[in-house]
Amino acid sequence: MSFSYPILPGGHLLAIEGLEAPHIAALLDLAESYALLNRQGKTQRDLLRGRTLINLFFEDSTRTRTSFEIAGKRLGADVINMSVSNSSVNKGETLLDTASTLNAMNTDLLVVRHGQSGAPALLAQKVSAAVINAGDGTHEHPTQALLDALTIRRHKGDLRNLVVAICGDISHSRVARSNIHLLSAMGAEVRLVAPPTLLPAEVGRLGVSVFHDMRKGLAGADVVMMLRLQRERMAAGGLVPSAREFFRFYGLDAEKLSFAKPDSIVMHPGPMNRGIEIDSAIADHPTRSVIGEQVEMGVALRMAVLDVLARGLRRNG
């Protein structure tokens, strides 16, 4: 193969912040090769044979958990799903008690989603497994940003100098933070489009430009990345007065998209709120929308991450 094997510093994937461009590029190259194998229907069931992968989800997720599950199984790992609703965490067991339980079970790879920022980092200090952050609070969701980058690369070639507009609830989005770090590291121009109530403090210091007018923010964009608006942010949450007002000013429809480049692509990490942040006609657009491809790339990218981390594990199964 033409690429060198990538490394992930520390033996975990906890955040994009701190990863350097060569690490990211090497990981994307590896993921690209898995995408090809997947399309050819080939599998590599010996790579993670004898390895245990635990999906530890403290928050509901279908898409991400399934994606990791498929990725692990395609590489031959024994995959176990633990979700909070049927685990002892609800009975008052602390996160660190969970960690020692997992250690006792000789877990090799631990995929963690948690509602609290920093929870996977805390677990990583205490478990012997390689930890993959599958989304922590409003901090990061590194594999989502990586699969987004992989998808963009397949359509646009190099990420360098691309104009990427990230739109919607930036404040509560771990996807946005990971994408900001990744795209900036790879030399893309990142724009954020949101009302001020949905932007985190001093986000401009992350090297992005901020737009409150969506048409201006989308002008000349190569990539339009929409984010999910949690319904609880509206009305009682007070950050946005109503769904109809949000859609009018920050929902992606054909008219607003016309300000972006004619060959621009539209992305969404899912699950979508149709008619709130994105119009169905755009979400299902045959050429502009790459939302389905993001899901496909998610499996390939996660296979690459599991591959890299498993090679770094000390205990060889």
């Binding site: 912040e17 602390t94 996160l95 660190l96 948690h114 609290q116 920022s117 920093g118 929870a119 980092a121 805390l122 922590d136 609070g137 409003t138 901090h139 990061e140 771990r174 933070r177 985190p200 403090a201 001093e202 986000v203 210091r205 992350l206």
Partner: protein, 424 residues
């Protein structure tokens, strides 16, 4: 049993109240300072201080002591050990306990528990409002008679302007003051100071303006009521500027800060270090510098330990879920001395904020080297180096935000009413 007179000689006598700073001898008789000019009676014990500094025992205007209700984190006995090792001989204890200190009997009980340690005077704050709920005033008069030193809702800001106005007004009748946690509660649902770092870490932020706006409101209420408000753990430039102006205007406004706010900045929480999670949260570097300036120019009246005992179960959690608060008794002196060693403030004014200035605010006789004053003293080596280590701090609480910090200046002996209660 009355101990024999004790002459501490070859000591650098430091009394911030009078400006005394010279080598000499201090005589203790019957638990009080009998002489500052030597002249020991026959039969006095003699202690050669070896040129170390002898200063009044420290007066800490803010600490949580674990009792009643949180004895697994700290007890009055364990806090007294930590205090003695830190040169502290008087502590104002916070009323946010379980049950809340809003009843005269409880206030008396806590003060007596202090006496029982033999090494520590506890001056309990009483809750300003019943149950710390911010609604009805507690019985200021009866609580004062029972020994309450002043009134505060502790970690809770008194949110209602009307309640605060009444508290400030009513406190005047009993010659006391209100200690406010200066933070607008509706903006305080966060784990870190709002800004770039909190954004990067994905932590809910508390804007710094939450402090300044509460300070501004309460200064207006102090003006309106004629009452005395004391802001505790001031940590921002904007709040200090307001307090500076209020003092210039002649209002009864005072304030304190705690060592983390002049020694650490928000970067201490990087990596989700929950031991550096405090309330108010640590601030950016320019705010820390403003706090140092407030120490230097006298805007800040006193330095408090803000001792908040927490155990591992409180802290080994995802950052936003971990409890705020740091252990502070053992490091109060040395972290303050770090500003002296750095050249930001001279030794006497620094110690004044730990001795005579809190004594004056509280109206107590301790906190000075004066004939007839209680012989609450600490002997310390200004330059002795040591390192703060989790697990090796005196007392029960080990949750120091300064874990790993190298410091200079260490207490070698502490005296309470003339009796040695700690020696290194």
């Amino acid at each position: 049993m009355i101990p024999a007179p004790l002459l501490i000689h070859n000591a650098r006598l430091i009394d911030p109240a009078s400006g005394l700073d010279s080598l000499g001898a201090l005589l203790i008789e019957n638990g009080r300072i009998a002489s500052l000019t030597g002249g020991a009676a026959d039969g006095a014990e003699r202690l050669d201080a070896g040129g170390q500094c002898l200063a009044p025992g420290l007066i800490d205007m803010r600490a949580a002591l674990g009792e009643p209700g949180a004895e697994h984190r700290e007890t009055i006995a364990s806090a007294a050990l930590a205090a003695a090792a830190g040169g502290i001989t008087t502590i104002c204890a916070l009323p946010d306990t379980q049950p809340v200190l809003d009843d005269p009997a409880l206030v008396e009980f806590i003060a007596r528990r202090g006496e029982a340690t033999g090494s520590l005077t506890i001056l309990p704050y009483a809750a300003a409002t019943r149950g710390l709920k911010g609604m009805e005033l507690s019985e200021f008069g009866l609580l004062r008679e029972a020994g309450a030193v002043a009134f505060t809702d502790g970690a809770h800001a008194i949110a209602s302007a009307r309640t605060m106005r009444l508290a400030l007004s009513y406190a005047r009748a009993f010659g006391t003051f209100i200690v406010q946690h200066p933070e607008e509660p509706s903006l305080a649902h966060g784990a870190a100071t709002e800004g770039e770092l909190a954004t990067r870490l994905g932590l809910p932020g508390i804007p710094m303006a939450a402090e300044a706006m509460m300070v501004a409101r309460d200064i207006a209420l102090a003006r309106l009521s004629g009452g005395h408000v004391h802001f505790s753990r001031v940590s921002t430039a904007a709040a200090l500027e307001l307090i500076r102006a209020a003092k210039a205007e002649g209002l009864a406004v005072t304030c304190d800060t705690a060592p983390p706010y002049f020694d650490l900045n928000e970067n201490a929480i990087t990596g989700y270090r929950s031991y550096a999670k405090l309330s108010p949260p640590l601030r950016p570097e320019e705010e820390r510098r403003a706090v140092v300036a407030g120490l230097t120019d006298g805007t800040i009246d006193t330095i408090v330990s803000d001792h908040q005992p927490r155990d591992a179960d409180d802290k080994r959690l995802p950052f936003a879920q971990a409890e705020a608060g740091g252990a502070g008794l053992a490091t109060l002196l040395a972290v303050t001395l770090a500003r002296v060693h750095a050249g930001d403030i001279a030794l006497l004014p620094a110690l004044a904020m730990l001795t005579c200035r809190p004594a004056a605010l509280l109206g107590i006789a301790a906190g000075r080297l004066a004939v007839g004053a209680p012989a609450d003293l600490m002997l310390f080596d200004l330059d002795r180096a040591w390192q703060v280590k989790d697990g090796q701090l005196p007392g029960k609480a080990q949750n120091s935000p300064f874990d790993g910090r190298a410091l200079e200046g260490r207490v070698s002996a502490t005296f309470k009413a003339g009796r040695k209660v700690f020696s290194a």
